[in-house]
């Protein structure tokens, strides 16, 4: 129980920007020095706004991207330096569910072949056995065996997402990386898919890395949550702690910005000033200082270290909010 299934240590990833012969070479700092552990059987969520590096982190763990510096461990093996060939046997242990149920299924392949493809690659099953397995999986995700003969365009968004989930389950993965799996779906369908994901986690003993921008969805599904801002994790905490006592000013304003579907509850909103700074030109000092309502001189000069306040509650802030009155210096 005590060994994490995924361990990310001080990982940084930058991309080159500024194409063209004479363009100035610039770098996009997508992920800056992040560290976290995911325990087996838990749901670990990454939340943040667009462009904060959530998806890049997911892709780094799936070895679709290689980190510039830092280490990623999966199931006791260091995978950050493996070559594509060395990674291949491990691929069946990590599967992904993508955001766009329309774009992530090949429109020219029948559903049964889409779901069966991982079996073809990773196992030695015969065609008949593969098909049997596919039919089983279709039932598991709430579709019927007859759906296998159809093509993706014949399905609605929610059903397509179920197909994506079935495909991820074929090879009995240990970890499923779900990158915004419900954000393209309507609320009534979203609830169906979330319930399915939770049921499957119990039945197949899965670990999820759940990437989302929706704080209410994340609250429902997660055990532990990491809040990202401009490529860094600003706060990590167990679900209850994070929602009850958000300590980082960013987490706090993020939570207050979520509209609550209850007109009786009129709440105080902390509106953030301005927009996200550009990732090609990160602010000095604390990355959040340009928008922080509590910004002080130290924040502009020094980049804060991650500190542990309370059990499993990590904050990257010079002056985390410890009580209701405001800043506790």
């Amino acid at each position: 129980m005590s060994t994490p299934i995924v361990s990310v240590k001080n990982v940084t990833k930058t991309f080159d920007a500024g194409k063209g012969m004479f363009a100035k070479k610039t770098k996009v700092h997508a992920v800056n020095d992040i560290s976290f552990n995911i325990m087996p059987g838990e749901t670990f969520s990454l939340v943040g706004e667009s462009g904060c590096g959530k998806s890049t982190t997911g892709r780094l763990i799936d070895h679709l991207l290689i980190p510039d510096t830092g280490e990623i461990w999966f199931d006791g093996k260091k995978i950050s330096k493996l070559s594509q060939n060395e990674m291949r046997p491990l691929r069946s242990d990590v599967q992904m569910i993508f955001q766009d149920p329309y774009g992530s299924l090949n429109p020219r392949i029948k559903v049964q072949d889409l779901i069966g493809e991982p079996l073809l690659i990773h196992t030695n099953l015969s065609a008949g056995e593969r098909l049997k397995k596919v039919y089983e999986l279709l039932e598991v995700v709430g579709l019927s065996a007859a759906h296998g003969e159809r093509y993706p365009h014949e399905f609605s968004g929610g059903q397509r997402q179920r197909i994506g989930i079935a495909r991820a389950l074929t090879v009995h993965p240990k970890l499923i990386i779900a990158d915004e799996p419900v954000s393209a779906l309507d609320v009534s369908i979203q609830a169906q898919v979330l319930n399915l994901l939770q049921q499957l986690q119990k039945d197949f003993n899965l670990t999820y890395l759940f990437i989302s921008h929706d704080l209410s969805v994340v609250e429902m599904i997660s055990d532990k949550i990491a809040v990202m801002y401009l490529g860094t994790i600003v706060e990590t905490a167990p679900k209850k702690d994070l929602y009850a006592h958000p300590m980082h000013p960013y987490t706090r304003s993020l939570l207050s910005a979520v509209p609550i579907p209850d007109p009786a509850k009129k709440k105080e909103r902390t509106l953030l000033k301005g927009d996200l700074p550009s990732t090609t030109n990160l602010p000095a000092g604390c990355l959040f200082h340009t928008r922080c309502p509590y910004c002080q001189e130290k924040c502009i000069k020094e980049r804060p270290e991650t500190q542990e306040i309370g059990e499993g509650h990590f904050v990257k802030c010079h002056y985390p909010i410890c009580n209701e009155e405001g800043k506790n210096v």
Binding site: Q192, L194, H213, D214, A257, V258, P263
Partner: protein, 333 residues
């Protein structure tokens, strides 16, 4: 009694599909008062956007038609006025904000040109005066450096900035009615909060009526005073916002509100509505929600219920047999 700004009556919009006409919006009636935010909620494909485009007369001619209904704007039926006059109303009296700020702006034109275009078209102003006006509206929507923004192209601005520009453009001629079609769906929550606060401010200051189309019940709860819920091209419920969330009457509204994950609740699984939205061309007979409804009875599958006013409650309607039954008693069945 507040003044009715927009009054839509029995609107029916159809689209051509394989030589036959498919009804996308049927029997939709609602009104908006001055200085009021009316919410229009529903899932994708329920006819929210088609309703607003019908009102604006922006649907493609030939493949779509408004076959029934009237749309009164300031007492005049705008479905009947000629094109030239409609063009004067559109962008001047009624403005619209679209969902995707990035793709609704022309990428090849500077912001200044795009905003002043509307101002010059509807007002008798010189270019300099129009520029000044554009500068002022941009400032009023909270853009810190209007001169720089006016001189940039859309790709140089962020999503939140583009949406502000869109709002500024819509507000530049001080319209009486603003139709906002999913104005914050493409934006992050912190930016969404900024934009919503801005829309509220505009409503307060100018007494503009706003039709807010959204699928996000959280946004509705925070912004609107009255709400219309649509399902499969029909209005299934209309209610003041408090009543809607406290005691939703239509089973669809109930399911919709229940299936939203709520911040701060200890839920581990969500109640959900089984099945999915029916296709426009193969609508079920009777109540359109019956196949997914947990209370469905035989009568629901045969006859479509009317949208009836709920007795004793103002502005409250529901399209469900259940409420009629309570009224006339079950014995009549």
């Amino acid at each position: 009694m507040a003044e009715k700004l927009l009054d839509v009556k029995n609107l029916r919009t159809e689209f051509k599909r394989d030589k036959s006409w498919v009804t996308a919006v049927n029997d939709v009636s609602f009104h908006i008062n001055k200085g009021e935010i009316l919410g229009l909620v529903g899932e994708s494909g329920c006819g929210k956007s088609v309703t607003s485009l019908s009102v604006m007369r922006l649907l493609p001619i030939g493949t779509s038609r408004v076959s029934e209904g009237e749309v009164f704007f300031n007492g005049e039926d705008i479905l009947k006025v000629d094109k030239k006059k409609m063009r004067k109303i559109r962008g001047h009296k009624i403005s619209m904000i679209f969902q995707e700020p990035m793709s609704s702006l022309n990428p090849c034109m500077r912001i200044s040109k795009q905003i002043t275009e509307a101002i010059l078209l509807h007002n008798d102003l010189s270019k300099d005066e129009a520029y000044k006006r554009a500068f002022n509206v941009l400032k009023s929507v909270g853009i810190p450096d209007p001169d720089m923004t006016l001189n940039s192209y859309p790709h140089q601005l962020s999503g939140g900035m583009c949406q502000r520009v869109m709002i500024a453009m819509a507000m530049s001629c001080e319209p009486d009615l603003l139709i906002a079609d999913e104005p914050t769906t493409a934006l992050d929550v912190t930016i969404q909060a900024q934009i919503l606060a801005l829309m509220e401010k505009i409503k307060e200051e100018r007494n503009t009526g706003i039709l807010l189309i959204t699928h996000d019940l959280g946004v509705v709860a925070e912004m609107c005073s009255r709400v219309i819920v649509m399902y499969a091209g029909r209005i299934v419920e209309e209610a003041p916002v408090r009543e809607l969330f406290e005691a939703p009457m239509h089973p669809y509204t109930q399911g919709l509100i229940e299936s939203v994950p709520k911040l701060g609740s200890d839920m581990t699984s969500l109640p959900s509505i089984p099945g999915s939205v029916p296709d426009l061309s193969v609508m079920p007979k009777g109540c359109k929600f019956a196949p997914r409804c947990k209370y469905a009875m035989d009568i629901c599958r045969e006859k479509e219920p009317e949208l009836v006013a709920v007795p004793g409650q103002e502005h409250r309607c529901s399209r469900c047999v259940l409420h009629k039954l309570e009224e006339k008693e079950v014995s009549k069945l």
